[in-house]
């Protein structure tokens, strides 16, 4: 495993282009585009203010940079550096901006979700979509980019509108049987839309592309409901994580629950591989030991070694006592991700924040549990193979694959606190993002990983 040098970054804004050739990152008001292979700067654009959001167009030709404070969006072309485009939302303000899948339209959501403005880069035309709902996930595009589903709120009722992206024509408009719709998500095959209700009520509805209600599912009542939803890449399964600390898997034929994955704090099944991150401070000479021990700030302490140990079950995981009288309590399954081949599902139960659970979808059972030393910040699957990258806000990145687990120290001076990460399309590298910096981590081929692991085990 190799690491690139560390580059500056602000606002965790670093993204690979969809074609995998470029890497865009922001430093204050500057947008830097690098070649992924050489890491040479290809283009450098200067925006009018600090960039708050960037997004590549689907064809990797344009990048939009949103400055929400100013209500501005600036678009840059990679092919024509001199080409520029600036969209000003004026006094209406701006809270969100995104590309349409064709890469020629930009959807801007104004403040208070008054409307969505669709700006075209091809024509002067501007379209407005009224009544967008202010919710967690109000717009979703199908994978093929043909359709957009939009959650709407009119007269205290939830609606979903389906637009044809090519000409922004309204295809379907229907009301949903929800109290307060919170999210919508297309199935990867683009034929089924999952709609889920507010966390106060466990309710998930499935609509066909033509607006028919296919099924409705509710696991329980009178308690906090759905927290996270994820489709499997094969569109076969819909995983629903809820505040009761369970993931329910619905199937695509009957839309009924197949199984329930619980996240108990105690693991008793001996079949489950339990990886526990263990920290070992490097061996110090006897003379170095002093009492009281020197404070952390006193000098550059050697970073302690970290490695995974296979804990023998039964194991009890560290749990967080949630404060239930506050909004957004830290309970329930808040993170869900299917592996690209749909064989595995990674989850995190928010009141056991240090653990990542990996479930075997073929056998519908728990496969492995990773317990980190600090709360898991983010995890993402390798787009090419079942390999999970995890970061915990520390200076290490963790990799899990069915073969085993790996903990890698990010080299460099000072602490590189990995707050987020994103995989390159090929799965050969990933970008590790900290508050002010980012670096690329290059992974060897599968065969070489083992040796790398051994090497790392030797000297980290």
């Amino acid at each position: 495993m190799n690491f690139s040098e560390v580059f500056k970054l602000s606002g965790l804004l670093c993204k690979f282009s969809p074609d995998g050739k470029y890497l865009a990152s922001c430093v204050q008001y500057r947008l830097v585009v690098r070649d992924v292979n050489t890491l040479q700067i290809v283009q450098l654009y200067t925006c009018l203010d600090q960039i708050q959001h960037i997004e590549w167009s689907a064809d990797s030709l344009f990048i939009l940079c949103a400055m929400y404070k100013r209500g501005l969006v600036q678009v840059w072309s990679l092919e024509q550096p001199e080409w520029h485009c600036k969209i000003d939302e004026g006094s209406a303000g701006l809270v969100a901006s995104c590309w349409s899948p064709d890469g020629r339209h930009i959807l801007n959501t104004t403040e208070f979700h008054l409307r969505i403005t669709v700006w075209s880069l091809c024509t002067k035309s501007v379209s407005y979509i009224k009544y967008p709902k202010a919710c967690l996930q109000g717009t979703t595009f199908t994978r093929d980019g043909r359709y957009m589903a939009l959650a709407e709120r009119r007269d205290c009722k939830d609606y979903v509108s389906i637009f044809v992206c090519s000409d922004w024509q309204l295809l379907r408009h229907f009301d949903t049987d929800t109290q307060d719709l919170t999210g919508i998500e297309w199935a990867p095959n683009g034929c089924v839309l999952a709609v889920w209700d507010t966390c106060l009520e466990y309710k998930i509805l499935l609509y066909s592309l033509d607006g028919r209600l296919l099924s409705a599912y509710s696991a329980y009542e009178w308690s906090l409901g759905i927290k996270s939803v994820a489709w499997s890449p094969s569109s076969q399964f819909l995983a629903v994580g809820s505040y009761d600390g369970k993931v329910r898997i619905l199937n695509h034929v009957t839309w009924k629950m197949i199984t329930e994955f619980e996240h108990p704090a105690a693991i008793n099944n001996p079949k489950i591989v339990m990886y526990k991150e263990a920290e070992k401070s490097p061996q110090l000479g006897l003379g170095c030991l002093s009492f009281p021990p020197p404070r952390a700030g006193a000098g550059p302490l050697p970073t302690p070694e970290s490695k995974y140990e296979i804990a023998s079950v039964p194991v009890s995981l560290q749990t967080l006592k949630p404060v239930t009288d506050r909004a957004n309590p830290k309970i329930g399954v808040g993170m869900l991700a299917f592996s690209p081949d749909s064989y595995f599902l990674a989850t995190r139960n928010d009141n056991i924040p240090n653990a990542v659970w990996v479930w075997d979808i073929q056998k519908l059972r728990l496969f492995a549990v990773l317990e980190q030393l600090s709360p898991v910040r983010a995890f993402q699957w390798d787009p090419q193979q079942p390999r999970l990258a995890i970061c915990t806000g520390g200076s290490r990145v963790y990799l899990w694959s069915p073969a085993g687990c790996l903990s890698v120290q990010v080299p460099g001076e000072g602490d590189f606190a990995v707050l987020s990460l994103c995989w390159h399309l090929s799965g050969d590298s990933m970008a590790l993002l900290s508050k002010d910096h980012f670096c690329l981590c290059f992974l060897e081929t599968v065969a070489a990983v083992g040796t790398a692991c051994r090497q790392l085990g030797g000297h980290t």
């Binding site: 080409w83 485009c85 006094s91 020629r104 208070f112 880069l121 091809c122 024509q169």
Partner: protein, 614 residues
């Protein structure tokens, strides 16, 4: 005191009984105790009797005392002490004998009394101890009763407390339930309230939004604008199209196309899955049939009728299978049949497995119940069987060795020697052995036949000679008579014909005697087969025919032998069958399938023969 004694004396025995009865009846009563004490007190009194009596009678009052005693005694039924007086005035004489008798009787009575007293005393003691025991028992029981009563009270108290607690808990539960209900109601009301409030707020919010919208959007905000260098082409290279009804229809079309595609894809997948599952089912069914049918067919004879019907079902299903493969595509028709048959077979399999389980458990139970007997029997049987087998094997080896030696010693034709060299298999050896024995028999037969033939030929020669002589003589006679008598000629002709006829008959008898003789000469005595052999042999003595008939011969011979000595064979049969089975297994990988049955039969046959031999 003396009075009391005398009063009790005569009815003592009876009284004693009553007392004993009395005591036995009311052992615990204090009155009886008292009476016993009284009885006891009489013992020292009796010792003082003499002194008392000495004082009673003095020289002065002998008469009075005697009369007094007499009176007393008569009142108690004793005979009078005085002699019977003849006259009234005459003074009655004291009868000494009567006095002595009375004394004696009194003494006897006294002794009896004492004995009875002793008995009563011991009984008294016994009863006293009994009494004590019973009293202690009584007190103990009383205590126990007391404690149990106390316990009962304690338990009752506890029960009461528990009931009380239970009632409280029930009350609490009810309260809790009420609470829950109330809370749920509160939640529900709060939810409705919240929703209501939310709606109100949202309406307000919407109003505000609308207002804001009007304010912001309708002001013709100059700032809202897109500043673009030049417009870029569409990603697909096409120009934007106008929105018309047509595009709408096209969009609809496309949407439905996508949906249709998806459904088709899913249908295809489901079909594939279905087909695969069907295949699996079919395979399972086939395997089940193949698994079930041979198992069932074997014990069919002894198993009850139900399995018999089952087997027929299985066979039916086996027949259906071929038909079903034709209907592979139309799933509705197949489905039911397939599932039904699978279900049926599954049931069969299940019942079979259950039966096996039962058997196993039974065997286990039996094994646990009478382990020793069965094990010993089994042991004995097994050892017997094994010994028999060993013997058979030994014999077989011996015969094989013999045969080998014989074959090596005698100059055989090339084919057999080469075969002998090649065949290391038991089968071949056995076959050769069989062939060899047959061959020997045949050879014997041939020789016998030849002998008979030569005999017949000699006889014929002799006869011919006689005939020639006769003829010569006849010719001579004719020649002589030709000139003498004509009528004599006719006689001679008749004679000749008669003679020739007799000679024919002779020949016939010779022929018919041959087959009758041969079986007698046979050593191992299988009349049917040998007769067959002899019938076939003269007609076609070639080896090929011999080979053809061989198997049938072996069958016949084996049957015959079996019929001849059934007692001897019985134990052998088991071994024979065993080896037979082994044999078949060994011979299968070999070449001659057709030979198999024959060979195995010959094998057993040879065994039996060997067993018959000393």
């Amino acid at each position: 005191m003396g009075d009391w004694m005398t009063v009790t004396d005569p009815g003592l025995s009876s009284e004693n009984k009553t007392i004993s009865q009395h005591t036995s009846e009311t052992k615990m009563s204090p009155s009886s105790l008292y009476s016993q004490q009284v009885l006891c007190s009489s013992i020292p009194l009796s010792k003082n009797v003499h002194s008392f009596f000495s004082a009673f009678c003095t020289e002065d009052n002998i008469e009075q005392s005697i009369s007094y005693l007499d009176q007393e005694l008569t009142t108690f039924g004793f005979p009078s002490l005085y002699e019977e007086s003849k006259g009234k005035e005459t003074k009655r004489e004291l009868n000494i004998i009567a006095v002595l008798n009375c004394m004696n009787e009194l003494l006897v009575l006294q002794r009896k009394n004492l004995l009875a007293q002793e008995n009563v005393e011991t009984q008294n003691l016994k009863l006293g101890s009994d009494m004590d025991h019973l009293q202690s028992c009584y007190s103990k029981l009383k205590e126990q009763l007391e404690t149990s009563r106390r316990e009962m009270i304690g338990l009752q108290e506890r029960d009461r407390q528990l009931q009380c607690k239970n009632r409280n808990l029930h009350q609490l539960l009810k309260n809790e339930k009420d609470e829950v209900q109330k809370l749920q109601n509160i939640i529900a009301s709060r939810a409705t309230q919240y929703n209501h409030d939310m709606k109100r707020k949202e309406r307000e919010y919407n109003k505000l939004k609308e207002r804001l919208h009007q304010l912001v959007m309708n002001k013709k905000d100059k700032k809202i604008a897109m500043d673009i260098l030049n417009y870029v082409g569409r990603a697909d290279g096409k120009r934007g199209s106008w929105r018309t009804g047509k595009t709408e229809a096209r969009n609809e079309d496309e949407m439905y196309k996508i949906l249709l595609n998806d459904y088709e894809y899913r249908q295809k997948q489901i079909l594939m899955e279905n087909a695969e599952l069907k295949k699996v089912l079919q395979q399972m069914k086939k395997e089940m049939i193949s698994l079930l049918s041979p198992q069932k067919k074997k014990p069919r004879e002894r198993v009850d009728d139900s399995t018999g019907t089952v087997i027929s079902d299985v066979e039916e299903d086996a027949g259906e299978l071929s038909r079903e493969s034709i209907w592979d595509l139309s799933c509705e028709t197949v489905r039911e049949q397939l599932t039904n048959s699978i279900r049926k077979q599954w049931r069969i399999l299940k019942s079979h497995v259950e039966k096996l389980d039962n058997q196993v458990s039974k065997v286990h139970l039996e094994g646990f119940n009478d382990e020793d007997v069965i094990s010993r029997q089994d042991h004995e049987q097994e050892t017997e069987k094994l010994e028999l087998e060993i013997q058979q094997c030994k014999e077989m080896i011996k015969t094989q060795q013999q045969l080998l030696q014989q074959q090596l010693a005698t100059a055989c034709d090339d084919d057999t020697t080469s075969l002998l060299r090649d065949c290391y298999l038991l089968e071949e050896k056995e076959r050769l052995k069989e062939e060899w024995s047959l061959f020997k028999e045949q050879k014997k037969n041939f020789e016998r036949e030849r002998r008979s033939f030569t005999e017949a030929a000699i006889r014929l020669g002799l006869e011919r000679k006689a005939f020639e002589e006769e003829r010569a003589s006849w010719l001579k006679q004719q020649f002589l008579n030709m000139t003498t008598f004509d009528h004599q000629n006719s006689e001679n002709v008749k004679l000749f014909s008669a003679f020739s006829g007799s000679s024919d008959q002779d020949n016939l008898t010779v022929h018919s005697r041959q087959p009758q003789k041969k079986p007698h000469s046979m050593s191992n005595g299988s009349p049917v087969c040998m007769s067959k052999l002899t019938k076939s042999l003269p007609a076609s003595p070639s080896t090929s025919d011999f080979c053809q008939t061989r198997s049938c011969i072996s069958e016949h011979s084996s049957v015959n032998v079996l019929n001849i000595t059934p007692e001897d064979i019985k134990p052998n049969q088991v071994g024979g069958e065993c080896t037979n089975q082994k044999w078949s297994v060994a011979s299968r990988p070999g070449s001659q399938e057709g030979c198999y049955s024959g060979c195995s039969l010959t094998y057993t046959n040879s065994h039996v023969e060997k067993d018959d031999l000393p």
